[in-house]
């Protein structure tokens, strides 16, 4: 380089050093220009052009809505009519004019038609009338509700129980009372429809894990833990829940409660167990899946159950520690905004609890009969039995499924044949609105403790025969 040029550069540097603010300012300008050149262009949102009144009227005139419901003929062609029952839905049932033994309704403890329960119901009707005329907060609380809540809490060994007026609405209201938008719920993919609606109503993020697969659940919990480590502040306020069922309505399987409790404390995830089928079934005293696994009920954050199955009454309840259960009285929609449980149903449930307490051997007997019946049905050719061995509620599926429609037709055929031969069973209802719509169709069998061994053997014969005939008919067609 020339000496002159060097000198010019030197002078430039000298003058820059004498006026540093200049340099800084110009430097910042250069950086700003570079940033503008390389940043993404900011889009101005187009303001929607408003329509004129005339344009709106034209659009209104052109608009053709769909009918509110499909035409009657279409609906009737696509669905089966309801089966008609005359009289009690007890051990014996008269369905579509056929006298049958009832293996379809969830009357596990045989309390439908029990004399003591009927007498209690009569007393309640005479004292309280039929309805309560108000929600719990506004003169809808009767002394019998308080008595029932106390009795349920005592029976379950929990601190507090809260009763609802309808089983379906119990889990639908209980989950959204705690889980809100932004929270995370890990739920088994086979949870029943009411639970699915509760999960949807909570607006939380729902992560389904494979049915009863604890490894899959643990994977998902670990993934969440990794994400939480990236944002610990957010993780500290986001509530996490696990929702499972004691005995699953859709499969008759039992949940792995010890593993779930282990995950609860390891991954800091609260545990809700829906015990509609396991309450009054599992455990030495019928306290459900916690008693079955010998786990103190305080380890489960909330037990949700209904009194419509084992207690053969109406309504549902939740129980748990005071800290958890108490808040439902203010925040559960189905509790606050609904009229309370009719006293006659509360009375029936109370009497049912007393009878169960006086006859604790009834639960072991029920499980033994369930096990016996399952063994009789396991051997049926072409049928797969799904369910926990001692569960009085289990499913029969086709061993080699064909198509969903043909399988369903086959199962309905089996049910019809059994009905004509004096055994009432039912296909487990599923609708398109279920989360797991590809779940295979099945017949759900429910065993009542009232059924004798002789009766169970005869029923097994009838079902076996009906299955054979149905297979033969399908092969011909």
């Amino acid at each position: 380089m020339d000496v002159d040029k060097l000198w010019i550069v030197n002078e430039a540097i000298q003058s820059a050093l004498q006026t540093p603010y200049h340099v800084i300012f110009e430097g910042l300008l250069v950086i700003w220009i570079l940033r503008l050149i390389f940043s993404k262009p900011h889009k101005i949102p187009d303001k929607e052009e408003k329509l004129t009144a005339k344009e709106k009227k034209e659009l209104v005139d052109l608009w053709k809505p769909e009918p509110l419901a499909p035409p009657v003929e279409k609906t009737l062609a696509e669905t089966r009519p309801y089966r008609l029952v005359n009289g009690q839905v007890g051990k014996n049932i008269v369905i579509n004019g056929h006298k049958c033994k009832n293996f379809a309704s969830l009357n596990f403890l045989g309390l439908v038609g029990n004399k003591r329960v009927d007498d209690k119901i009569e007393k309640c009707i005479q004292n309280y009338g039929v309805g309560t005329c108000g929600p719990r907060t506004f003169y809808g609380t009767f002394d019998i509700h308080l008595e029932l809540e106390k009795k349920l809490a005592e029976f379950m060994g929990a601190e507090e129980a809260v009763i609802y007026s309808y089983g379906f609405a119990t889990v639908l209201s209980a989950i959204p009372a705690y889980a809100k938008k932004g929270d995370i719920i890990f739920a088994d993919e086979a949870v029943s429809f009411a639970v699915q609606k509760g999960l949807q109503g909570s607006r939380s993020k729902v992560v389904y894990f494979k049915h009863n697969d604890m490894d899959d659940l643990e994977d998902k919990l670990k993934q969440q833990e990794k994400m939480d480590k990236k944002d610990p502040k957010k993780a500290a306020v986001v509530r996490k829940f696990m929702v499972v069922e004691g005995i699953y309505m859709n499969s008759g399987q039992i949940c792995d409660l010890p593993k779930l409790v282990e995950f609860k404390y390891k991954y800091k995830v609260r545990l809700f167990v829906e015990e509609s089928l396991s309450f009054g079934v599992l455990g030495k005293h019928g306290r459900g899946v916690t008693e079955h696994f010998n786990i103190p009920i305080s380890k489960v954050d909330l037990v949700i159950a209904c009194m419509e199955n084992s207690l053969a009454s109406g309504g549902g309840f939740t129980c748990g520690r005071h800290y958890v259960a108490g808040s439902q009285r203010l925040s559960a929609v189905g509790y606050v905004f609904s009229v309370s449980l009719p006293p006659l149903l509360a009375g029936a449930a109370l009497e049912g609890l007393k009878i169960s307490e006086e006859n604790p051997e009834i639960f072991a007997r029920l499980r033994q009969k369930a096990s016996f019946f399952q063994n009789l049905l396991k051997g049926i050719k072409g049928i797969k039995l799904v369910g926990y061995p001692e569960s009085p509620c289990f499913h029969l599926r086709r061993l080699h499924p064909v198509t969903p429609e043909k399988d369903l037709e086959f199962l309905h055929d089996v049910v019809d044949k059994c009905e004509k031969n004096g055994i009432c069973i039912t296909v487990a209802t599923r609708t398109k609105a279920e989360v797991l719509s590809e779940w295979p169709a099945s017949i759900r069998i429910a065993v009542s403790v009232q059924m004798s061994e002789k009766c169970l053997k005869e029923a097994a014969k009838v079902i076996c025969h009906a299955v054979k005939e149905a297979f033969a008919e399908q092969r011909k067609s």
Binding site: L51, K56, V60, W63, P65, L68, P70, V72, T79, Y82, L84, Q88, V89, I93, S105, L106, V112, G113, E122, I125, Y128, V130, G131, C133, G134, R136, F138, Y139, F142, H145, L146, S165, Y166, A169, Y178, F193, A194, G201, A236, V237, R270, N309, A312, G314, Y323, V324, G326, S327, L330, V333, G334, V336, F337, P342, L344, L345, A348, T426, R430, T431
Partner: protein, 525 residues
């Protein structure tokens, strides 16, 4: 502001003033033709007096004091100076995210528990014209509750949903219900679609359809669940639901579960509803602008916290003009409104078939439990096939069905029903006039059996309820979160069984206590 409409021939809704139909009952046709089956009704009069400025200032001060004391007491509780009665979390749960949001639990601890003695009062017998309340004593700002062992007998009932006074169930109707209980038991343990469909259910549905003069109806085991699971069967994510801003929580839950787009219109405001209908159709779905599959307007017959009656005439006119569908929740109006107690359609003289879906409950005026949907055969058969309750939830218990059947039969075939409706209407008017004369702010429609009287101050709720109980009257006070924060009120539910003397006694007690608690905001105006 008061909205008054004159009797007369309507020319539709498009010239309506801001809060109502301006020319009496609409016949649904906008060119002024008068349809012969529509009977003009009395002036459709609703009042929603604005909150006096002094009340809004001092009620806010009231809340500030409550908040201040709440903070002080929380401080005392955390530092173990004051005894803690709240349940606390299990120590093993350390490290879990907190279960409750701070504000709601703060409100629960420091405001809600203070008025707990007015709420959840237990009863010892059937609620009729009088109640037998189990007495409780509260201390420590509502945290400690003791049962004294006494029962307060013959407290006049101004709070239960017992509009036609049928709850006492004496005599023949009780016998029939007991017989049904013996024949069927109470437990069914199965949904309608499986083996829970009893003959008595079909009988009930037939009776309901005949009573309302519609094509068909379907019954469900719970009124709340009826709304929650019927709306998702009718609309889906490509549909628009226009709901009144004061709709019940069950309707809100049902709309949420349906995934439809929900837009709320101002309470009973036909102009706002029309604008939302028009814009909804014109602009279509958000972002894509695809046309909506269906538009469903959801309203209630009588609003349980406002005491107002829906402007059915106006809504039917709009729904016809814009090809929308109409769903009415008649939980509080069925059996209370109309000459034949058929609900809000009877009240306006509109054919029940004009409403696409009528929803009602058996828990309020029957009383029992359960709900029903009435409408065209297509809708009912669709619900039979598709409704989640029919598919998964246990069906209605037989004695409860029988109760509802007996009451419907009584109302449709005997004079007793007509007498009760007349008495209820008379009681409503007498009660409201008495309160308005005394200077109370009374919300809602003159014909509605629900009479909300504004209190505004949270602390006055407790005072009013306690004083009324001491004078032998059971009332219902409602505050946040059931009402807006500054909208605390006492809500009277009238009954046909209240005699003239009981109403006069109630009015003098209310005026007495109202003066004591200073609730007569319009006195002297």
């Amino acid at each position: 502001m008061t909205v008054v409409t004159k009797n007369g021939v309507s020319n539709g809704v498009s010239n309506g003033v801001s809060n109502g139909v301006s020319n009496g009952v609409s016949n649904g046709v906008s060119n002024g033709k008068h349809s012969p089956h529509v009977r003009p009704v009395r002036a459709f009069q609703e009042t929603f007096e604005p909150m006096p400025l002094s009340a809004s200032i001092f009620a806010s001060v009231n809340y500030m004091f409550l908040g201040l004391f709440g903070v002080i007491r929380d401080f005392l509780r955390t530092n173990k100076i004051e005894k803690v009665f709240t349940a606390s979390e299990d120590p093993e749960m350390k490290g879990f995210a907190p279960l409750y949001d701070d504000f709601l639990s703060f409100y629960h601890r420091n405001a809600f528990m203070r008025i707990i003695e007015c709420l959840t009062r237990p009863l010892a017998r059937a609620p009729g014209a009088v109640l037998h309340i189990v007495e409780r004593e509260f201390s420590n700002a509502g945290w400690v509750c003791k049962y004294t062992g006494k029962i307060l007998k013959n407290v006049v009932n101004l709070g239960s949903y017992n509009y036609l006074g049928i709850s006492e169930n004496k005599g023949k109707s009780t016998k029939v219900v007991i017989e049904a209980a013996k024949k069927y038991g109470v437990g069914i343990c199965s949904p309608r679609r499986e083996v829970g469909n009893l003959d008595i259910h079909s009988e009930l549905e037939q009776v309901v359809a005949e009573y309302l003069d519609v094509e068909a109806s379907i019954s469900f085991g719970m009124g709340f669940a009826t709304n929650v699971m019927t709306i998702p069967s009718l609309v889906d994510k490509d549909c628009l639901v226009l709901g009144d801003e004061h709709n019940h929580a069950s309707i809100a839950t049902g709309c949420k579960l349906s995934n439809a787009t929900i837009r709320r219109f101002k309470h009973n405001n036909m102009e706002d509803l029309e604008k939302k209908l028009c814009d909804g159709i014109a602009y279509g779905q958000p972002r894509t602008h695809r046309p909506w599959k269906k538009i469903l307007i959801v309203v209630e017959g009588v609003y349980s916290m406002e005491g107002s009656i829906t402007n059915l005439a106006g809504i039917v006119a709009l729904k016809k003009k814009y090809k929308a569908y109409l769903y009415i929740d008649e939980a509080h109006s069925m059996g209370a409104l109309g000459k034949r107690a058929r609900g809000v359609t009877d009240y306006f003289g509109i054919d029940a078939k004009e409403v696409d879906v009528i929803m009602g409950t058996f828990s309020k005026f029957f009383p029992g439990q359960g709900g029903f949907i009435a409408g065209s055969r297509a809708i009912i058969e669709h619900l039979r096939a598709d409704s989640a309750i029919a598919s998964y939830a246990t069906s209605m218990s037989a004695p409860v069905c029988q109760q509802a059947i007996s009451v419907f039969n009584m109302l449709s075939s005997t004079e007793e029903g007509k007498k009760k409706t007349k008495q209820l209407a008379k009681n409503c008017r007498m009660f409201r006039q008495g309160l308005k004369k005394a200077g109370f702010i009374v919300y809602g429609n003159d014909d509605s059996p629900i009479v909300p009287v504004m209190i505004f101050y949270p602390s006055k709720m407790l005072g009013f309820s306690r004083e009324m109980l001491e004078r032998g009257f059971a009332v219902v006070v409602a505050g946040y979160p059931a009402t807006p924060v500054l909208g605390s009120r006492v809500r009277f539910c009238l009954s046909a069984t209240l005699t003239d003397k009981q109403i006069q006694d109630a009015l003098s007690a209310i005026i007495d206590v109202g003066d004591l608690v200073q609730m007569t905001y319009l006195k002297g105006k």
